[in-house]
């Protein structure tokens, strides 16, 4: 089975696989030490946190916290 992809936008997970882990790494000046950080892990943390928030909202319904 093959799923044809006719998305106008590429999927974010596929993009992050490539943009954060691929491409040429040159020691930029400002991000010299950021280059040592695992960008993928950071983004995964952000992604997972956002999924959790969505799930929590699903459980608790919409709350108006004013």
């Amino acid at each position: 089975m093959t799923r044809a992809i006719e998305r106008r936008e590429v999927a974010l997970v596929d993009l992050l696989d490539r943009v954060l882990a691929g491409g040429v790494v040159i020691a930029g000046e400002i991000t010299l030490s950021i280059a040592d950080i695992d960008l993928v892990r950071i983004s995964l943390r952000a992604l997972i946190a956002s999924v959790r928030v969505e799930n929590d909202e699903g459980w608790e319904g919409d709350r108006d916290d004013g």
Binding site: M1, I5, R18, V19, V24, I30, A46
Partner: protein, 268 residues
């Protein structure tokens, strides 16, 4: 200060003959995209406010999914836009320099690397292929149930059998993925493996048994997509998903130490 700017790098290309930057492209800070030329190469860059993109700011932003998505898409959009004008080498997200002079110095320093890489990826395109399976399709046929002893023993036996079945299913699915990979790799000049994506993030059920990139010569593009379709038909228990064309993100990184996920180059 709000007017202190840094140079964000998107890609490196061969210097265009007319020196015109890609028209109408805006970057990660909505800034107009321009070219910094040097050593016969051109860096595709934009000026971004340092206040928003210095190390501390970036550290915070990277944990913010909305920022990350918007900025990653902008980075990709510029690279894609530049790729319409000629072969590009994408640069890793968040590569920043203090000013254009330093970018020119970097181009001079890395000229040979960049020129080699441009030559290596010319006329070739990155395609992504993912494979998903439903573990149930790979379970062994249910055996005759063995002699059951006491209810407790039977329970333990059942649990052990289930665990073994799962392992068998995983092994079978992985073997199938390897077959698919070797078929696809035969049409590619290089392949790169990405880690399987988290099922919640990528929104799939079952197992992702393949998440690879293939660097395919442009005259084989149709053969490659036809092969993916054919493999999908040959193995109905596997769902294949193609993405691309991508700029060569997965084939421009410098070699990493052995054992890491890295592009596998075939001798040409």
């Amino acid at each position: 200060m709000t007017d202190t700017l840094a140079t964000w790098l998107y890609a490196v290309t061969a210097a265009p003959e007319d020196g015109t930057p890609p028209q109408g492209l805006t970057g990660v800070a909505d800034e107009p995209v321009r070219l910094v030329e040097g050593a016969g190469l051109a860096a595709v860059v934009g000026s971004v406010p340092l206040a928003d993109f210095d190390e501390d700011a970036l550290r915070g932003h990277l944990e913010d999914l909305e920022w990350l998505e918007r900025t990653a898409r902008a980075h990709h959009r510029v690279i894609n836009g530049a790729a319409r004008h000629g072969q590009v080498i994408p640069l890793r997200f968040a590569t920043l320099y203090h000013d254009d002079d330093r970018v020119r110095a970097m181009l001079r320093e890395r000229r040979e690397d960049f020129t080699d890489t441009l030559r290596r990826v010319a006329g070739r395109t990155e395609w992504g292929v993912k494979a998903y399976v439903d573990p149930r399709s790979f379970l062994p046929d249910p055996d005759e149930s063995e002699d059951e002893g006491s209810p407790g023993t039977a329970y333990l036996m059942r649990r052990r059998a289930q665990r073994q079945d799962q392992e068998t299913a995983h092994l079978r699915a992985t073997e199938r993925a390897e077959e698919i990979h070797s078929s696809l790799a035969a049409l590619a000049v290089a392949t790169a493996a990405h880690p399987p994506q988290d099922s919640a993030l990528a929104a799939y059920e079952g197992w992702m048994v393949l998440n690879n990139s293939y660097l395919v010569p442009d005259d084989l593009t149709e053969d490659f997509t036809a092969l993916v379709r054919a493999l999908g038909e040959r193995y109905p228990a596997v769902t294949l998903e193609v993405s691309g064309p991508w700029p060569p993100y997965s084939f421009t990184a410098p070699p990493k130490p052995a054992g890491d996920a890295q592009p596998e180059e075939k001798p040409s």
